[in-house]
Symmetry: D2
Subunit: 149 residues, 4 copies
């Protein structure tokens, strides 16, 4: 297990945020967003974050790299409902030579909805691990999120 | 619009059936299966039907053909709920030189849940229309489902 | 079958449009948006359209009505890919005393991606058919989309 | 963070297994099952496991309890592809007075596909924490999976 971030429930600790409006299709019979949907929200925010960093996915792939998801973690704190507009905060939290970890915080107004982490391996088109690009490494200045375990 | 089938709500009119148990993730905040999920049920039944016809998808692709979805139609009659086990009846209902239409009927016990149609184009790996394979053509004996419009 | 609209591939024929950016999770192994996802795009656009009409879903429900999906139809013309931003055009196309039909057109740049129709029944919280509200009836001026069949 | 299990990649360490055939709709443009789909597989296996324990969900709810998802973790080891039939092994791994943790292991033939954990809170219909039922507590004999952190 590589998972090593403790994403804070403080919006100011993050580099970027992206709003997502909950679709009806994403709710379940408990009347709330199904728990699997949070990983899709993380992904949408991650893609927007890369675009914000001036490295949209098509450019990343044109550079010959892709990011395989190695691990994912979600801590559900309060439910989301249909038509809620949730802010997804995201930052690169830790990097190694071939992996990076992103931390997420979902906030609805002043309510903490969820936190989460995804761990990615940098791979080439053949799926082989390759060195993390410098632009991604440079984003990951120490945020003091680690050391939990 | 190629859609030209009127799938009956009579199980005996179909060649094949496939049971699907409703996942919780497939329900929505109305407490029922979200309407988009029916197309996924059709697809699962279609794949099982091809396997039953001794032409599973990997074999079909090895023959150099794929089936692009051109049109889809669903008539929702009664809702489905979590953990329901619905029988999905399916048959090839009409073919042309390069397309085929499949009809579907979902039944829960004695209750008619839905009917539907998907229209598929036979294409090669480059996405170009190609002639329907003979085995598929031979399945599509006239079922008297057409002529509605 | 109530389905009776032929939505045009002309953006100017629609009252409203709503942009949607394709999520990676919505693609499939053919590298394109899975066909079931279009119904979810229709729904997101429909919800935005109701908001635009000053009748967001929570207000509609507070008025004691809901819209059950009775039928859905999609005509797939060209594929969508990850990160595409597609415009979803939508309009009420036909109403009866208790049902309404909405037409949809998806366009990517100048490319026609898909058209579709959803048929809705107006119901009360107990699921019984009720009369369509006046505000919705008034939106459905004749668009000349019907009569196809 | 309550997450405290290290589910082994050994099928014999689990109480129960449940086969799932991958749907085409669950794949993504990388040609593999999208990472969010694993949480849905866990859920389907969890529901089957409760049924196997003679406490299917409707019976559990009739007893006035529900299980809220508090945390979820997935470790992705090898990809899954369309039409693969994966075995999902599952067991209750740890309980407290009001929570339980389930461990999962996905295996395809002899290949380890993924491991994962979900943490659940036992709640009443009003969403208030309630004591774990005895039948669930009794299932959770020590499996020696904990203590990782």
């Amino acid at each position: 297990m590589r998972l090593a971030l403790e994403p804070p429930t403080d919006p100011t600790a993050y580099d970027f945020s992206h709003p997502i409006r909950v679709r009806f299709a994403e709710t379940d019979a408990m009347g709330i967003v199904h728990h699997a949907g949070y990983l899709t929200y993380f992904e949408e925010a991650r893609v927007a974050y890369l675009r914000h960093l001036d490295h949209p996915y098509d450019k990343v792939r044109a550079e010959g790299i892709d990011f395989a998801v190695l691990e994912a973690y979600v801590h559900y704190r309060q439910p989301l409902r249909f038509d809620d507009v949730v802010d997804v905060f995201v930052s690169v939290g830790e990097v190694t030579r071939v992996t990076c970890q992103l931390g997420y915080f979902l906030q609805l107004g002043d309510t903490s909805i969820a936190t989460g982490v995804t761990v990615h391996g940098c791979v080439n088109p053949a799926g082989r691990p390759v060195r993390l690009p410098d632009w991604l490494r440079s984003v990951a200045d120490d945020k003091g999120w680690t050391g939990r375990r």
